[in-house]
Symmetry: C3
């Protein structure tokens, strides 16, 4: 059900021609804004300096095609927006095949796939097509037509702050700058939107504030950080970059640069109960964790993927479609992140309130009438109390005492009710 | 000799019906006070709040028995004080076997043993008997008689402070609330008394102050801590809970909650030279280390046992007698603790006084007339000097240099006499 | 070439009769001063207290021999200065063989070798000879003649400070108090002199200041430290004791007392690429690292040797000559130390200047026109930037990223030119 919703949103968003800045990103954010009415849209003007970078111009496309001498459009942006190199400059010119070929991109090892090519920060134009089609092109004259525009405007991003009881934040970040591809990227935004709805609706008594951002990759994250870094450094206790989360193949994580952050701990602990988990090195990074974990930024951010970007055969091509991304895959990814969030919400640090052991008996928590060993239930309660020194959360108490996390939670609940431990 | 003394005291104390509070504890403390005249006796009034607990009433027993229709006392408290559940309320009633049986306790897997059962914080009465005897009871009428009293009074404990040159303290803690059982518990108080005599008489020039406490288990330790915690946190550098130290089977230690304290180090180092050593986890704890190591108390306290409570077949039954506890066993335990105390007294941290190596030759500590390698003695002295940087004690110097602890001590003595190292 | 120079200097210095203090040390320093004109010579007066020690008298020898009844000089200091026990007091006396023999030293297990014997801090005289010769001595009368003098004067040492851009220092220390032996000791001073020339001439734009000291072993290092310790503790970031560096057998290092200093790191990293490396324990120390690493001094100093002192059969005897020490051996040792110094000079700690990744594309450092994976060069640059957080030097960046140190250096250079990282 939840997977179906996400899949439906992804299919709605699929045809839009997203790029770094321009109408495609805006249209995508508008769609997401309907799902998440509290989300606010932000723009950063072309030419604005964001840390080391400068915000690029917007790009829009009216039409783009290659036609042959018979007027047949052999490659048409209308058919698939991957056919046009992103940020292609305008062209309207007849040329022979040799000249045209210098502007063509195909994948010899995936002859049926249209590749995904960008030229954000260079002035050029180009078309992408299947290698099969490219090889079938006959010598002759072709007209390349790109009716695109590059113009000063703004970079757009969406931000949703879901307030919790505390100012401390969990960050969810995903990107919205890739054209028609399903896993990379639409799986990320739709999972993030579904999580945001769930947090808003189901986690109404949540502890943490959730900072949820939909940004164009790299430049968007940098722009966002340039506006929010100080606050995020004070508030974010764990963050996740969500990308390539729609297939059913495996589960992947890329730990933060330093490792060992709360995001790393909880994601790795949640994935421990799944099969087919791949833990990459930070050296394998590639998405906005590059910015969130850079020196001087150093936020506690890990990446969650199914098949990691760059590691699956359909990556960055027209094969990255809804044969790969499924309702089931999206649903499983939702579960992983919901488990992570639940764990973070629940993983408070416990402190025993009284020095020495409390008297469990007079609270009905301990009865040893009869003979023999201390009852297991009382022993477990004592174990939890013995380590509730303010430095251990549920998972840590579970690990130390050998009691399962759910039972640890039950026991802590009883102890909290009895006024014997408090959560910090 | 020392073992015989301890065994004699244990046999004297054996018949007394100890419990949490009442004449049994007081009589036991009075006996120990004769051995340790400087010990002071303390009382905490019934109803007084001690941390999370409330001090219970005293309990005393006049007589208690079960008699059959022929007036034969088939179970009698006079024969063995384990026959009566501790803190049994009064009863004087005829009943049939079925009703009586609900008040009987036996051990099917140890059919000859009378079990040890307590009901400190509940109102009930009961009798304990061997499973064999229980099975031999014939249907019929029985009279259960318990002439006991529960009344406001006080919890008693004994405290002995043996002043040393320094205010820093070593804690020895044992308990005095179990009726006629030899290993758990009389081995603990008699070993502690013997150690106290030895410290007082033999260690007259001791460095540390010794805080030696005889308390009813759990509630006594909590009451004691509630009165002394602040001071103990400032002063105690190592402490030991002494319990089940009278058999000859194995040596056991339970490290402190955090591990790595000076008590852990010295006990584990002393036990390293013994055979059959079992090192338990803090999760296996069960005596007053539960209080001494609880969050907020966190004293550096380890437990020393021979066969650990709960781990030997005679535990908590009438089989825990002088077949199990021997003069030899007690003597060996004395040696372990005396070694620990000696090590603590001696394990000062050494610091070389002069930068660079001192000139051993002009002090007669080094002679290399002739040929060949540096004499071993001088080389060892240099090794000790090289690591005498104020962070290593004898055991640590021994471990680093590979020189035996006794030889390390000899060398340090020479170096101290020569004014080349000082102890910190 | 460089090896030949060093070997030539060692051969020039070989005949001089060095000892702790006196004309031999002074003559050696004068020779080294010609090689290193900026070196300054220092003297510490006899009787001066240096930490725990007192500076000894000078010792000089006019002649020393044993003659037989026929006036034949069977042992003569002129033939080999090892024949005389260092610091022998004067003697001029006829005696029988038995008496003489009490003053003779030889090595039964190395019957052809004249041993090296000293008596610095004792009043005695003695001759050293091969065990073969000793055994051939016939009963009869012998005259022992030692025309030596012990007199108040001074202990001499040489110090060379080669200023760098920074006040932080690299220490090179070697000793100059052994008579005619090639590996222990002349290999040390000649390697140190060659390194000093190379640092002065080749490393003209060096970062570090080099503190290069030629001292009599032990007492000289102690005297030097007593005058310079405070400054050295502030300035020395890495130091090396150079001794026994002239043979071709193996490479040895003795780490500093604590280990893990920058000297330990760089020496062990440089030696990792050599064959036949022995890493000793600090317990195997024996030269001036004994002082540099003593408690209270604790400089970051490691020892570099080929065959370590005490570990090769020619050690401390006339067999320690130019059969053992070669031009090749000295040259290889030079390379090790030059590599260490180069590494230290280059191993600055890098910090990325901008938060988030910088925009490599607009600086011509990244071009992704076309299809496919991120270019390796750009990926490596990003990896370096990702870890340039001010805590990693070249070697550490190389280890983390798996990029070779030279390539790491190239990339850092490009990034520095582009203003994207700075060195700390």
């Amino acid at each position: 059900m939840r997977g179906d919703n996400m899949l439906g949103w992804a299919k709605d968003l699929f045809p839009i021609c997203r790029s770094l800045a321009g109408p495609g990103v805006r249209e995508t954010l508008t769609y997401l804004n309907k799902l998440l009415p509290e989300m606010t849209l932000h723009e950063v003007a072309t030419g604005e300096q964001v840390f080391d970078w400068v915000v690029p111009q917007e790009w829009s496309v009216d039409e783009a095609y290659i036609e042959d001498e018979d007027g047949v459009r052999i490659v048409d942006f209308k058919d698939h927006n991957l056919h046009l190199v992103s940020y292609s400059e305008p062209v309207y010119e007849w040329m022979d095949l040799d000249t045209l070929d210098q502007h063509l991109y195909s994948l010899p090892d995936r002859p049926d796939a249209i590749p995904y090519v960008t030229a954000y920060y260079e002035r050029l134009w180009g078309f992408c097509l299947s290698h099969k089609q490219r090889q079938s092109l006959k010598p002759g004259r072709y007209r390349a037509v790109v009716k695109s525009a590059l113009y000063d405007g703004a970079l757009s991003y969406g931000e949703l702050l879901l307030k919790g009881r505390e100012e401390k934040e969990i960050l969810l970040s995903t990107y919205i700058c890739h054209p028609s591809m399903a896993n990379n990227e639409l799986s990320g935004p739709v999972l993030t939107a579904a999580l945001a709805q769930w947090i808003d609706e189901t986690l109404s008594d949540r502890k943490y504030t959730y900072r949820i951002v939909f940004v164009p990759e790299t430049i968007g994250a940098i722009a966002y950080l340039s506006r929010n870094l100080d606050q995020m450094k004070q508030r974010v206790v764990a963050g996740f970059v969500l990308t390539c989360v729609g297939d059913e193949r495996c589960y992947s994580m890329i730990p933060s640069r330093t490792g060992g952050t709360r995001a790393d701990q909880v994601l790795s602990s949640v994935l421990a109960s799944r099969d087919d988990v791949i833990t990459y090195s930070f050296l394998d990074r590639g998405s906005d964790e590059r910015q969130y974990c850079s020196p001087g930024v150093d936020l506690p951010v890990a990446v969650f993927c199914r098949s990691k970007f760059g590691e699956y055969p359909e990556y960055h091509s027209s094969l990255d479609n809804f044969d790969l991304v499924t309702s089931t895959g999206l649903g499983q990814s939702f579960d992983v992140m919901a488990d992570c969030i639940t764990a973070l919400e629940q993983n408070v640090y416990y402190r025993a309130i009284t020095p020495c052991e409390p008297q469990l008996g007079r609270r009905g928590l301990y009865s040893n009438r009869g003979i023999g060993d201390i009852p297991q239930a009382a022993l477990k309660m004592r174990h939890i109390l013995a380590y509730a020194d303010g430095t251990h959360d549920v998972l840590s108490l579970a690990e130390i005492t050998g009691i399962g996390p759910d039972e640890v939670r039950d026991i802590l609940r009883q102890l909290e009710v009895a006024g014997l431990v408090c959560a910090e």
